[in-house]
Amino acid sequence: MKTAKKDTKAPAKAPKAAAKPKVAFFDFASCEGCQLQMTNLGELLLDILGAVDVVEFREAISEKWDKDYDVVFIEGSIGDHHAEERLKKIRARAKVLIAYGACACTGGVNGMKNGFELDEIRQSVYGKDYKLFDSTPTRAIDQVVKVDYYINGCPVYPPEIIEVVKHALRGLPYTVPDNPVCSECKLNENVCMYERGVACLGPWTKAGCNSWCVNNGNICYGCRGEVKNPAKNAAKDVISKYNLKPELITKKFEMYNKCKEGAK
């Protein structure tokens, strides 16, 4: 899983004569931190920029590029009617669509909105004028249109960005790891958070982040989404061994996974 570091010599570089893939970037409801992770790549960003042709970085110039996109990155989740329409239009013109970051992949923290009655939560923020601001339940991108690649995480993990981009540009499939964060956490020799007395979502959450948060003394918050086939019996063991209330785990899981509740 440990992948591309600085030695990436852009193997997918297109021959000079060939046109570079047209790449566009769109953000929906999100903090745009995943976009920032791109600039945090430092000079590696220039390698990526060298291999592609960024035709759009913002919605602002969408009208100017009237042809199809080879690859689009979608950041953020869908939470109003305008966003839904805009996303569908983008999908219609995109050969490959990448859901970029937790908000796009699972709805992310925006999904917590779905734990409330919609009008009630709107009113709690905007008062009696709440109807001025359109709002629909939060949906992840694949709950609205087809998604070709997923880059999970809040924020996305830079080595995985590079890995997925390389796959997408070459048209190869990329499989998101479907083992739990614990598998990476053990290799990193962290003391289990349960042993330290707090409930952690590592056992239920997709790996691929190299147990980023637990390495830093915090718990796993489940930002990469639930593994397809969680070890239910092992989970039961954990809950009973540490004498935890199942509601505690459920509540923690809702922070990132409310949108996809029940969906597999």
């Binding site: 903090c31 945090n40 430092g42 913002r58 958070m193 915090n218």
Partner: protein, 442 residues
Amino acid sequence: MAATKDLDIKVEYVTRVEGHGNIVANVKNGKIEKCEFHVVETPRLFEGMLRGRSIFEAQHITSRICGICSCGHSLASVAAAEDALGVTPTEQTIKLRKLLLDYEFLDSHVLHAFLLVAPDALGVPSFVPLVATHNKTVRQILRLKKAVNDVCDILVGRHTHPITMIAGGWTKLPSPKEIDRQIEIMEGMTAELEPLLKLAKTLKLPNFHRETEYVALVSDDGEYPMLLGDIGSSEGKRVSRKEYRKSTNEFIDPRSSAKFTKWNKDSLFVGALARFNLNYDKLHPKAKAYAKEIGLKPVCHNPFMNTMAQVVEIIHCYHHALAILKDLKKHGLDYSQQITVGVNEKGSVPVRAGDGVGSVEVPRGILHHNYVTDKDGMIKAANCIIPTNQNVNNIEHDFAKFLPEILNLKKDEIRLHLEMLVRAYDPCISCSAHYLDVSFVE
């Protein structure tokens, strides 16, 4: 060119925190009929979503309000949470938080002043064409950005959405080796920083002045206040953070999903220029020397100079951070303060019902978080007032004075000047402001 008699400008672009922002300006027979700055967002309803969550989750959640200011939101959040809980952070914790805030300022200001404003200095529409024409400068900026990001990664696990800095203290403290590494990276930055500071001096900014109210943290000690202090105003007012609502007076305008604010005047300004105007005396001597060199002195009423005040703050924060690091190296850290909290399953932090406020200067201005909690530490109500929102009203008032002053310019120049004015506020939309789509209909 003759004065433009009729003008219909609509500028649409995507903002960072607030979703979409639009500029609308209508001029008829040389008279301005409308000149507004609209913010139209997808409401994310953070304040609503926080209800029912543990106060110990507030930092993690509110960090996600803005990926660019995630450390700033985290710092305001833990201050509010600790205020609600009645927890007093240790001296070491405060020191490390100040260091984190320095890094946050460096990172954000470098991005804005260099990567986003440098194209103005060099006369191109965005940083992308600079990759070809000014490769060395772009590499310097990206290396600097990466270096700040690296020290931040060491301190809090990662810069975007920090991991180790939580209500109650730190889940992991940097080892002596990691302190050394931060000093090494910081000292190595000068190679990139020096030429960029020189470049910034060549930036040409419009000469526009409008008196307004400047609001920032103020304090009684000699330190340039960023993390701690009261809320102060250039109108001579000062209130404690508990009374933050007095300084913001939010009101809703149907045109905009951002809430508007004002205090003692029609509008108020928060950000680097407000801090500079209120706390100039407390800046690091090298930062003051740079300000003097570029002719920036308090009180400056030119909003365009906010960018230059940011550059001045880059110098201040750089030296302030290095001083903290050297102090930490000298005195060492008390690792027994490392804590594991989760949602306080172990009850390691005493919990009470409370109403806490955290007011912190973040790169774009003063930021307030306010949480009301029940006796179990569950959030009952939350309020977050973001700097960009406080500035929206001021931007509109600037437009009203600025547009008549530039009406005799060519259309493209009017557009550029309006863009630059918005960009000067660094309102979390600066990236996109370089890609503004402006259409004129006459």
